[in-house]
């Protein structure tokens, strides 16, 4: 018994130190965002700044129009999530409820899509968007995100459909429901948690995606937060203040979502990924 409490306190100390190290880059980002310019470039480094300022936040929102990029990211994220859910719910349902010849190929396509690198699509999608006139549009960007969100969404929602007992639908069918009504009225409401975690996953993907958005959303009125931050680094190497303020704000939506829903979300993701 004595040894066990000794081990426990070592684990405890280790976790405290490791948490500190892991949280540090992010905490440092926040501290720097609230420092005045002289303090940012102070020597020796100021770990506990005396003067806290909101000037960088004001600058990034008022002078650089950050709220516009923030709104663009929101639109893109919500739209991508909605489109992904729309496309993935039915195949997820069909591959759990029916034993048909195309089931295996569909499931295989999910696995194979996981392996496709984004870079393979960068040139074809550029040509595709130019050809369809969807370049520099939210809709076009949502569409090219789908190959990276839909397969994993089908996979995640499948796990939730699998937990819905078949007998529920069978009794509805006997009561005169059509096949679609049985799906729509009985099973679909029961997998809303699964749909929610897919929505979160997709939103976060779109929120931080850089390669496609940087290449396809070229006009400033359409740019997202990552694109803005990336271009800002390129243009003003040394203006760290607004860059950090923008970065802190950019981290808020995913942090909030994960903070509240992490347990639930992690369960959905890992069960989808490791259950064979």
């Amino acid at each position: 018994m004595k040894k066990k409490s000794w081990v426990k306190s070592i684990v405890y100390v280790a976790l405290v130190i490791i948490s500190g190290i892991i949280a540090f880059p992010f905490i440092w980002l926040i501290i720097t965002a609230f420092k005045t310019y002289p303090d940012i470039y102070a020597y020796p480094i100021l770990y506990f700044p005396q003067n806290i300022t909101l000037e960088h936040f004001k600058y990034v929102f008022i002078n650089l129009g950050f709220s516009k990029y923030f709104l663009n990211s929101l639109i893109l994220g919500v739209g991508t999530a909605a489109l992904t859910i729309l496309i993935s719910v039915l195949p997820a349902y069909a591959t759990t409820r029916f034993d048909f010849l195309m089931k295996k190929p569909v499931l295989l396509s999910i696995l194979v899509c996981q392996m496709f690198p984004q870079i393979v699509f960068i040139v074809p999608f550029f040509l595709f968007l130019k050809y369809t006139g969807l370049i520099n549009s939210f809709l076009g960007t949502m569409v090219v995100y789908l190959p990276f969100t839909t397969p994993i969404a089908v996979w995640m929602i499948r796990n939730f459909f699998a937990d819905v007992p078949k007998s529920l639908e069978e009794s509805a069918l006997i009561d005169g429901c059509s096949r679609f009504q049985a799906f729509y009225k009985i099973s679909l409401p029961l997998v809303i948690p699964g749909i929610a975690s897919v929505g979160i996953y997709t939103f976060i993907f779109s929120w931080s995606e850089l390669m496609f958005s940087l290449s396809y959303l070229t006009s400033p009125s359409k740019q997202t937060v990552p694109v803005f931050l990336s271009l800002f680094i390129g243009q003003y190497q040394t203006r760290w203040g607004p860059l950090f303020a923008g970065s802190v704000v950019a981290s808020l939506p995913p942090m909030i979502v994960f903070g509240f829903l992490q347990k639930y979300f992690i369960k959905g993701l890992t069960s989808g990924a490791v259950k064979q």
């Binding site: 426990k8 684990v11 976790l15 490791i18 948490s19 892991i22 949280a23 880059p25 992010f26 440092w28 980002l29 940012i40 470039y41 480094i45 496309i87 993935s88 039915l90 195949p91 069909a94 591959t95 409820r97 029916f98 034993d99 010849l101 195309m102 089931k103 396509s109 496709f116 690198p117 984004q118 870079i119 393979v120 960068i122 040139v123 074809p124 040509l127 190959p147 839909t150 089908v154 976060i204 850089l210 390669m211 990552p226 931050l229 990336s230 680094i233 950090f244 970065s247 950019a250 995913p254 942090m255 994960f258 903070g259 992690i266 993701l269 890992t270 069960s271 990924a273 490791v274 064979q276």
Partner: protein
């Protein structure tokens, strides 16, 4: 095979297909949009990418691949990609499994540690992680040099992102910070599947904790490890925003990988032919690794 059996087989096949289509009509209608989407947005672009890479001035040619494969810069980038992927995958595995073991301990305040260790790096957007690390690595005002000096590990400020090998190390560390959490989550989920009785039985047989780890934990979570490592390899090879933002492949191409190189060819030099050749080479490598892993996984299970 005589014609009679052949006809019968064809008939059977036809019947079963027709039977399948009628019986599962709902399923086929349900997957239709998904199938169309896969064909238009996955199959077509992949094929197009291959076609572009084999064309020079409208004619079929291997020239793009030959140019790329005999370019010394591409050899350097291949080495970079190997260093980057192997280091990140090994570190993600070690850090991820180690932290999963720690977080799996039943202690007070476990949820808080779990939230900090797993959520902060993972939820931070890629570009923000890149910004934060770029600032920490800054040679004059960076906090990393200051801390390392105070700890006595270095005795002068290091130009982290300006020297090839340091820059390689720097992007690898930043990526492990960003990426280990996903591995840790999978390993944590895996550890929770290990039956407690196995540990108790092993303890009764006099196994110490290291033996319990190697003889009980590892064999049980082995399939999870293989899956996670495979996914990490694929994600790491394909990972773009961190390197792009922190170094954009520099200094002197020391941190250039297939992905950043291919991207630069396409969007800075508008050289789609060579860009697609590089991205297809990257694709073939990723695909081969995935196939080998999958086959070995299936082989082991049988």
């Amino acid at each position: 095979m005589d014609t009679a059996t052949k006809d019968k087989l064809i008939l059977n096949k036809k019947n079963s297909l027709r039977y399948d289509l009628t019986k599962n009509a709902f399923a086929y209608r349900a997957i239709m949009p998904y199938v169309v989407f896969i064909l238009v947005l996955v199959v077509y672009p992949v094929v197009q990418n291959i076609i572009i890479s084999f064309q020079v001035d409208g004619a079929w040619s291997f020239a793009n691949y030959i140019d790329v494969l005999f370019d010394p810069l591409f050899h350097l980038i291949t080495i970079n990609t190997i260093i980057w992927t192997v280091s990140c995958v090994v570190l993600d595995f070690l850090v991820g499994l180690g932290l999963a073991l720690l977080l799996n301990q039943d202690i007070k305040g476990g949820t808080i540690f779990r939230t900090i260790i797993l959520v902060i790096p993972w939820a931070t957007p890629d570009i923000v992680a890149a910004v934060a690390w770029k600032w920490m690595y800054n040679d004059m005002y960076g906090v990393l040099n200051d801390i390392l000096m105070k700890l006595g590990i270095i005795d002068e400020y290091l130009p982290w992102l300006a020297v090839p090998n340091l820059a390689r190390l720097a992007v690898i560390i930043a990526n492990v910070w960003k990426g280990f959490a996903v591995s840790a989550m999978f390993y944590l989920a895996a550890l929770q599947t290990v039956p407690q009785e196995l540990y108790e039985a092993a303890a009764m047989d006099g196994a110490n904790s290291w033996q319990r780890f190697t003889k009980v934990t590892i064999p049980v979570i082995r399939p999870y490890i293989i899956t996670t490592v495979m996914l990490t390899i694929i994600w790491t090879i394909n990972y773009f925003p961190l390197i792009f933002t922190m170094t954009n492949g520099g200094p002197a191409n020391a941190t250039d990988t297939f992905v950043t190189y291919s991207y630069r060819l396409a969007f800075r030099f508008l050289d789609f032919s060579h860009s697609t050749a590089v991205s297809n080479i990257n694709f073939i490598i990723v695909f081969t690794i995935a196939i080998i892993y999958t086959l070995s996984l299936i082989g082991k299970e049988e």
